[in-house]
């Protein structure tokens, strides 16, 4: 008889399973909505609901208990400063699981696990083609951000150099800018 046995093993060792829950719950609080399999969603829900109840308590001890389950300090702060107050009036039931049907590959039933009253935008269901396009887009955005950072740093250096020797550095600065542009092209291709 399986009296007093709760929870799923999810084909993992204890440590692996615990870490999985921590990661799932941290992502849920960070993004307010995650997509996973139904059994994982159901387990993560149980952990997440308890964490939000701790966040409503808000004292230091509660915060330390919650910190055991959250892997990122910034997310812990969000839990206590944003999520906790948001659900002050709600007596439990902070999350919602929506079934999405089986996924390709292993036919596992997928689900969206989200915070009720969350701010998450609709999940984008990508086709393979779009997934690839998105990957390239993200890479380009990153390259642009990096280029912008470099440019900014150069401008600052330039300004500092100008302050010291107004004429001598003008040519050098122009060369630097050319280099940044070629960097950007490489990354975009």
């Amino acid at each position: 008889m399986r009296h007093n046995v709760s929870g799923r093993k999810l084909n993992r060792t204890t440590a692996h399973r615990k870490m999985l829950y921590r990661n799932l719950v941290t992502s849920l609080i960070k993004h307010e909505r995650i997509q996973t399999t139904v059994p994982k969603a159901k387990e993560a829900r149980s952990v997440a609901e308890k964490l939000i109840t701790y966040a409503k308590r808000g004292d230091l001890h509660a915060r330390r208990i919650a910190a055991r389950k959250i892997t990122e300090p910034a997310v812990l702060a969000k839990l206590f400063e944003e999520i906790g107050p948001r659900y002050a009036e709600r007596p439990g039931g902070y999350t919602r699981i929506l079934r999405m049907g089986p996924r390709k590959g292993d036919n596992a039933e997928m689900a969206i696990l989200e915070l009720v009253d969350g701010t998450a935008r609709p999940t984008v269901k990508d086709s393979l083609k779009r997934k690839r396009a998105r990957k390239i887009m993200v890479a380009e955005e990153k390259a642009e951000a990096k280029a912008a950072l470099i440019e900014e740093a150069e401008e600052r250096a330039e300004a500092a150099a100008d302050a010291e020797a107004p004429e001598a550095d003008a040519d050098a600065a122009a060369e630097d800018q050319d280099e940044t542009e070629t960097d950007k092209d490489d990354a975009g291709a």
Partner: protein, 59 residues
């Protein structure tokens, strides 16, 4: 120990298995787009579950 006296014949095996069949999924009509949708699931055609939920691209 009790043990079968006879080997199960091909015919007997076939008769036993004659009633094995798959059941087809039984979709409902999506209240939003009218397409087929399994009960208690997000609609794969329009991405709705009550209110807006999943955004399906490339329709």
């Amino acid at each position: 120990m009790a043990v079968p006296k006879r080997k199960t014949s091909q015919a007997r095996k076939g008769k036993r298995r004659a009633n094995w069949r798959l059941t087809a999924p039984d979709p409902n009509k999506c209240p939003h787009c009218g397409g087929p949708r399994l009960p208690h699931r997000v609609c794969r055609e329009c991405g709705y579950y009550g209110e807006r939920e999943v955004m399906v691209v490339e329709s």
